[in-house]
Structures are given as C-alpha cells and as structure tokens.
C-alpha cells in the first residue's frame, strides 16, 4: 500500500522568516551536521552571493528568532555560515549561467551589497550587467565602511570576484549625475537601471566648534580613509559621538590607529543603543569607554585644535513614537571630556549633491523615492532603486534583499511582464515554546567564539574572530531543533491509536476526543520516534525521512563492490567525528557501508532486517556518547527494540554474531580494534547465508 506523504505544513521556520532574503538556515545547518560542507556552502551560495560577508557582519535576525534561543541560546547561525563560506570546498562551487544571453543591458549604479546582489541575480538570468561605481574600488560600505578586523578585504574581494566572474562589466570612478547621467545610460542602450548608491554622508552634529576645528571628522570619511589604507592620524584622546555600529567601528578603529583613550558618547542608555550587542561588548573589551546618557553641546578649541568636548548628562523621558525613550538634559550636569579629536557618527544620509543632475529621480525626506517598496520601481520608467539610498542606513542583508527584489522586478520589466509585488517581508513573531517543552529539551551550550587576544588586536586590523573548527561547527549545527522539519500526520491513514501521543519524549502530539491527532510543527524537534513507532505508518518526518533511510540502506549495499563481507554500519550523527573520519572510514574499511542518521533511536527492527535482506553480511549500530545524545531515553528504548530484532535475526537463521551495537569512541567514528574484530568475525562466519 502506498502511503501518501502528508501535506507539508506551512513552513514558518523562525530563522527563515526573520531573514530579509528568507534564507533557509536549517538547510545548511543540517548539511553541516551531516558533515556535507560543500553542499552546505552551495545551499547558502545559491541564494546569497555574499555568504562570507554575511557570515561575519550580518546582524543575524535569524539568531534572534531561533527557537533554540527559548531553550538555552540560539544556534550560532552566522558563525556557521562563515564556517561554510571559509572552507576550501567553496572553490568547487559553480553556478550554471544560462546558455543564451537575453541581450538586454542593465546598469547597476553602486557596488555595495544591494548592487552586487542585483548584478549577481541579473547575470544569472542572462542579462548583460554593468556596474558603475563612483569610488575606485568595489564593495560600497562593505569596502569603505566596515573595518578589516570585522571583514577582511580579501574575503570581500574574493566574493566580489566570484560575482564578476559571471561576466559582469565594471566601471569604477564614475559618479552618476556627474560623470554620467541616467539619460546617457539609456542612450548607450541600457534598458534598465538599478540605483543603489547607498548613504555615504554623515549627519552633522550641529554644535559649536564642529566646522572650525580640523580634528572634528565624520565617521564615514574617517572609516573610508581607514579602509582605503590611508592610516589617518588620530588623536591621543578621541571622542566618538553616536551609538550605532558606525560609532563602534570608528572607536575600535581609532584604538587600532594608536588612540590612547576612546570615549563613545551616546545620549541614551545601553539598552537603547542601536549597535549590535556583541560589537558593543568587543569595543569595551578592547578598551573603549562608553559615556551613556550623555550629549555633547560644544567642541572646545585652542589654537585651532580640539581641546575638549563639553557634554551634559541626560535622563530618559517619555518614549518617542519609535518606542525609544527620549533623552532630556539634566540641568547643571555639564562637564568637559578631555579629548583632542571628535568623530561624529550620528547616522548617515544620502549624498544628494549629485541628484541635482537627475531631477527625474524622485526624492522624499532626503532619500530616493520608490513607488512601491516591493517592486522598487521609481517614477522614472525602467529605473529602480534600493538599499540605503532608499531606506536610510540599514543592514547588509537588507541591502542584499533590495538587490534581489530589484533583480526580479528588472527581469520582469525587461520581459515586458507585469511586476510582481514580491512577498512582503514576513516578520512573523516567533511562536512561544511552552515551558513544558523547554524543560524536556536537552540543553547544549552554544559554541564559544574564539578571537584574537586584546593586545594582538590593537596592533592592526587583523580579523578578530576566528572561524569555527569543523568539530565545533558540526557540534553547533547539531544543536538545531529542526522547526517545521518534524512529524506530519496523514490524517487519512491515522487510526487514532495514540502511539505518537505515548512515545513523544516531549509530549507534543495531542488528540481531541474524536481521536484527531495534532502535532505542532513548530514545537516538534524531529526526533523521529512517532514516525518510527506509528503502527500504520501514518506519520512521516521531513528531517531524514524513513524513506530516505530505506534508500540509503538498499543503495549502499547494492553499490558495495568489493570482495569480502559487506557490513552495514548505522552511525549516529551526534557522535564526535568529522568529515575526515568519514573519509578515512570509507578508505580504511571498504567493507563498511555507512548510513548516517540523526539519532540511532530512529532505527527500526525492519531496518535491520532490510539490511540483511539486501545482502549485508553483518550489521552494527554505533551509538554516540550519551552526553551528546539529545534524546538519551529514546536511545535506551532502541536497545529494547534491538533485542527484539536480534530474536528475529537469529530465528531466521542468521548468526547472532552478525548483529551488534557498539559505542562510538569519545573522538572518531569507531573503535578501530572493535570494528576490525567485527569484520574479522564476519570473515570467519563466511559470507552470510543470505548472500
């Protein structure tokens, strides 16, 4: 009887929905857990052309949404993305270009994340893309805004090169509106334009002394100098005004360039600070001091140089419409910070100077105006716009999202089809996990970051954070709780036997009095017990389905082509082993057909019998160390089930010595002596009677 696969529940995986480009983090996390690192990279790269960038500097809203965060700490998704993107396997990745060019020329103005993402996607759709960049180098804010200790230039350059390798033309040193006009582009045959020029101008502080003193600089120009390797001169005592990531970047850069003391001056409290928490922590670790609830009101000068910064303390008043409490100066709390340099980092705006030459490009509130935030079309036909220039300063992933949306719109526009309003951003709030489930969920600590010691950091701009090792990355990936990849009940097949309700280690399936079973796809952690025990096979599971396992068993044995006994080994992916261990197992023990499973608990008596039936001479199950097992009690049940399997195996005339359960060592896949003895024993017993 054929089982119909139950309909997929609507996939509301929190990590996916939180990502502006709907990256399915589960997909590559699962592949990392399976030690299939090259496929993990391909899964990321097919959707995001800047994975190494995002793995380092993304504000990872996915982690904020992660269900594991309700249990202990979220999965280190960004670090896993970086791990996938840093490995040597990335060089094998090739994207298939369409056979034929569409013949359409598209101009991309700006080579930041929005422009690069659009260029990438459009090139893959067969359009001829040219990027126009005002600066002599590509990358936009990623290149001139983000310091190398967070995003090494080489990483960015390599990812840009891989995008350009799709056949994208580049023109640097060309500023739109000045060196070339949108009208010129049309004359040159460009059928569509994507304007993604970013927001590269700092807001003015608007306080006395700002324009008169040389040591008052804007963060954008300071960071641009830093990032272009100009080693700008910094003062001994530097004040950075602002509380965003640009302020933190400026402060940490200033310390690296020799500043003895850096004060970040922020008008609200730590709680309201818009910079990423980990960035704030790192800045403090490196020695930056933060003056919270402090506003500057005058820069003091002496002989044309900065001699101090007059500030006043604030207290927080009423919440503003955005929900942040407004700072109110406390009368009489004025004081002077002893500084000799001031960096203004209170936000960036679009540099509108060039747009005078482009009156058709509509502006509103000092940004480029788009008619529709989903299609990104402007009032000017064939001209689309996105990224910081449209939204104001935002994150890299938001810019990439804009670039991808623009690519979809431009492609439709070029084909003469109506534009699609791409799905609105699905900022669905993560469902709350019931406390009963949280209590029953195994706790596994998040991986520790490894970073340069403070003294080494301040010597230069070497990258601070290290990439995860393979071991750490796989362990981290195995923490994933597989939202929406778990059990699905086929209601037409269900006989309301309640087995799922009784076997679930978390108590997730529930029933009404008519026996209709419901399994919450968000709460389910895909342990696989219900799918295994269901006596009528009315439950299937998305992660590592039973059908996949059956295929792995049969295909693996069929493909085993060598003389000598064929041994099927079930390995629990939760063991402490790496990709190298898998490779060397295959090399050193060609007899072993490995079947990797997300938990040995998923193995049924029939799987063992199926292995023998398919021609295995021996079968063993390698259990992971109990402390690595997220469902240790269910693995105990496995042993009971395997006792039953043993009875059947022996009853059908197979020697009991052909079927064993062993324990994986603390490190590695198998105990060499054990597995050698097992294979030897198979040899002694002769080819299985079933062969």
């Amino acid at each position: 009887m054929d089982n119909e696969t139950p309909a997929e529940p609507i996939d509301l995986a929190p990590c996916k929905l939180a990502c502006p480009i709907l990256t399915d983090a589960r997909e590559y996390i699962q592949l990392i857990a399976e030690r299939r690192f090259d496929e993990a990279f391909a899964a990321i790269r097919k959707q995001n052309p800047l994975p190494g960038v995002c793995g380092r500097i993304c504000t990872h809203p996915c982690e904020t949404a992660c269900k594991r965060g309700q249990v202990d700490e979220p999965i280190a998704i960004a670090a896993l993305k970086r791990f996938s993107s840093d490995g040597p396997w990335k060089r094998q990745y090739k994207q298939p270009l369409p056979d034929k060019s569409t013949g359409h020329k598209v101009a991309i103005i700006g080579s930041g994340p929005a422009g690069l993402a659009a260029a990438h996607d459009l090139a893959l759709l067969g359009h001829h893309v040219t990027i126009f960049e005002a600066l002599p180098i590509l990358g936009g804010m990623l290149r001139v805004g983000v310091p190398a200790y967070r995003l090494p230039k080489k990483v960015l350059e390599e990812e840009i090169q891989a995008i350009l390798d799709l056949g994208i033309e580049v023109k640097t040193g060309v500023r739109i509106g000045q060196d070339i006009k949108l009208a010129d582009l049309a004359d040159e045959g460009y059928k569509a334009v994507f304007v993604a020029i970013g927001a590269h101008k700092d807001r003015k502080l608007g306080i006395a002394g700002e324009d008169e003193l040389a040591e008052v600089v804007s963060a954008v120009s300071f960071l641009r100098a830093v990032n272009q390797g100009e080693n700008p001169k910094v003062g001994k005592r530097v004040a950075v005004i602002g509380g965003g990531n640009t302020a933190i970047d400026s402060a940490r850069s200033a310390l690296r360039l020799g500043a003895e003391a850096v004060h970040i001056v922020y008008r609200r409290s730590r709680e309201e600070m818009p910079a990423a928490q980990e960035e704030i922590e790192e800045a403090i670790r490196e020695g930056s001091q933060i003056a919270y609830l402090t506003s500057p009101f005058e820069i003091l000068g002496q002989d044309g140089k900065v001699s101090g910064l007059k500030c006043i303390r604030n207290e927080l008043g009423e919440a503003d419409p955005g929900g942040r409490r407004s700072p109110k100066p406390v009368p009489g709390s004025e004081f002077t910070l002893d500084v000799d340099m001031v960096i203004a980092a209170i936000g960036q705006v679009l540099d509108l100077s060039f747009l005078d030459g482009e009156p058709e490009l509509g502006q509103r509130e000092k940004r480029i105006h788009v008619e529709d935030p989903y299609t990104l079309e402007t009032s000017s036909k064939g001209v689309f716009a996105g990224g910081d220039a449209v939204t104001g300063p935002a994150t890299a992933i938001q810019a990439i999202s804009a670039g991808k949306k623009a690519a979809i719109s431009i492609d439709l526009y070029l084909k003469g089809e109506p534009l699609e309003r791409a799905e609105p951003d699905k900022a669905v709030e993560t469902q709350k996990l019931a406390s009963a489930f949280i209590e029953k969920t195994g706790k596994f600590p998040r991986c520790e970051k490894t970073s340069l010691p403070k003294d080494d950091r301040l010597k230069g701009f070497e990258e601070v954070e290290s990439v995860l090792s393979e071991d750490v990355a796989t362990r981290e990936a195995l923490r994933c709780l597989h939202c929406f990849l778990g059990a699905r009940v086929n209601k037409d097949r269900c006989v309301s036997c309640l087995t799922c309700v009784r076997v679930c280690p978390l108590g997730i399936p529930n029933t009404n009095k008519m026996g209709e079973i419901a399994i919450d796809p968000f709460a389910c952690q895909a342990c696989g017990m219900c799918a295994l025990e269901c006596p009528v096979r009315a439950i299937d599971i998305s992660l590592d389905s039973r059908a996949e396992m059956a295929r792995d068993i049969e295909d693996g044995i069929r493909r085993a082509r060598h003389s000598g006994p064929v041994v099927l080994g079930f390995f629990d992916l939760h063991g402490n082993f790496g990709a190298e261990d898998v490779r060397s197992l295959k090399q050193n023990y060609p007899n072993i057909v490995p079947v990797m499973v997300f938990g040995l608990r998923r193995i049924d008596t029939s799987d063992v019998l199926k292995a023998f039936e398919s021609g295995a001479d021996g079968v063993f199950l390698a259990a992971c160390p109990p402390d690595a097992d997220p469902f240790p009690k269910e693995t105990v049940r496995l042993k009971q089930r395997m006792e039953h399997a043993r009875t059947l195996v022996e009853a059908v005339g197979i020697h009991g010595g052909r079927f064993e359960i062993c324990h994986m060592p603390e490190e590695g896949l198998v105990e060499k002596e054990w597995v050698a003895a097992f294979i030897q024993n198979m040899g002694d017993l002769g080819q299985a009677d079933s062969a």
Partner: protein, 222 residues
Amino acid sequence: MITLEQKKLDEILDMTKRCKRLLVMGCETCAAMSFAGGQRQVAELASAIRIAKKTSGDEGEVLEETIARQCEPEFVDLSGDKVSECDAVLSLACGAGVQLLAERFPDKIVLPGCNTTFLGVTEELGVWSERCAGCGNCILDKTAGLCPIARCAKQLLNGPCGGSMNGKCEISKDVDCVWQLIIDRLKRLNRLEMLEEIFPVKDWSPAGHGGPRKMVREDVKS
C-alpha cells in the same frame, strides 16, 4: 479493542515453509494497535520470512499488503487481485479476519500469523489487559463497573473465594482479586449493600454456550 499477539517466528516460518508466493496481509485496526499486524509489522515479518527462505534455501516470494479491516468483506475483496497472484495468505488479523479471508478466497491457503488474545484496554504503551469476556449479558451495573466474568479466574458471581489474599488472586500475586476491587469500589460509592443481592445462576447461552452467535438488526439490515 481486540488484542493480538504475533505468533513466534519459528511457528510462522514452519507454516509458511512450503508457500511459493506468500502474501503477508496486515489489518490496520486492532492488529495494528496491538503492534502485531499493522503495516510496520507486515514489513518486518515479510522481511524476516524472505531472509529465512534464502538462508534455508527455500524458494519463494513474499509480498506485502495491508487493509483497513480484515473483518469487512468490502475491504477484503479490494485485495482480491493481489491475493490471486499468491498461493497462500498469512493474515496478521484476529481470528475473525483470518476466517473472513478464508471465506472470500475459497481457493487460497489462509494462515494465521497472530493469536487473538482478548478484549481489553491499553494500560500504557505496550501493555494491555483483559476487561471483557463478551458473555453477551452485561452485569457491570451490579459489580461496580468491574467484571468478574472477565477478571475472576473462577468467574465467581457472589463474592471472592478463599484464595483472595491481601487483595490478590491465589493464581498469582501479580493479579488483583477483582472481587476485592469490586468491594473497595462499592464502599467508595457507598453502595456496599448491593452485595446482599444474590446473583442467580447465570444463563451462559448468550456467551456462546448455546452455539455460534449471530446478530441481526432488522432495523439496519438491508
């Protein structure tokens, strides 16, 4: 539910030894719920029989089939084509299912893969116990909802025998004396005086002692 237990594999192998083309047929109601004859056990058992046939050098093919209930002729008949390809059917249903298969497929060998055990309840996953003997004349109103026919080894109707010790039956210290349970429950319900009513001699004819039972509902019957 009707509880079932799969027969020992040796017995099954022995009875299916000569079958050249065997259909293992599951039943997805009571048999499945007893973990004795649902699709999962069909796969397991069919696999075991195939291996046994190979290891013992017997020829033969083993096919798999599962239907909703083997006690309904309409379901059984839907398997007709598959059954016709085989020389024998190993039914994993209760005795009723096995017999209906035999009735619908008069030319086929039909074999029982399970023992039908009792009418019972699930105590917990993997544990069932008997509650009803199907005697055809329910007296649970008089015995506080606890059945002495199904649960007393002697089927006593007027109180416990002398073998009731500390609430347990003399046959095993693991078996509750149902009469102790009845008394305890009547006490809790404040209806102990019900025991003063003497049960007359039980008429066992509805229990099958009057020959095979048949039930006809004139109002429902077509």
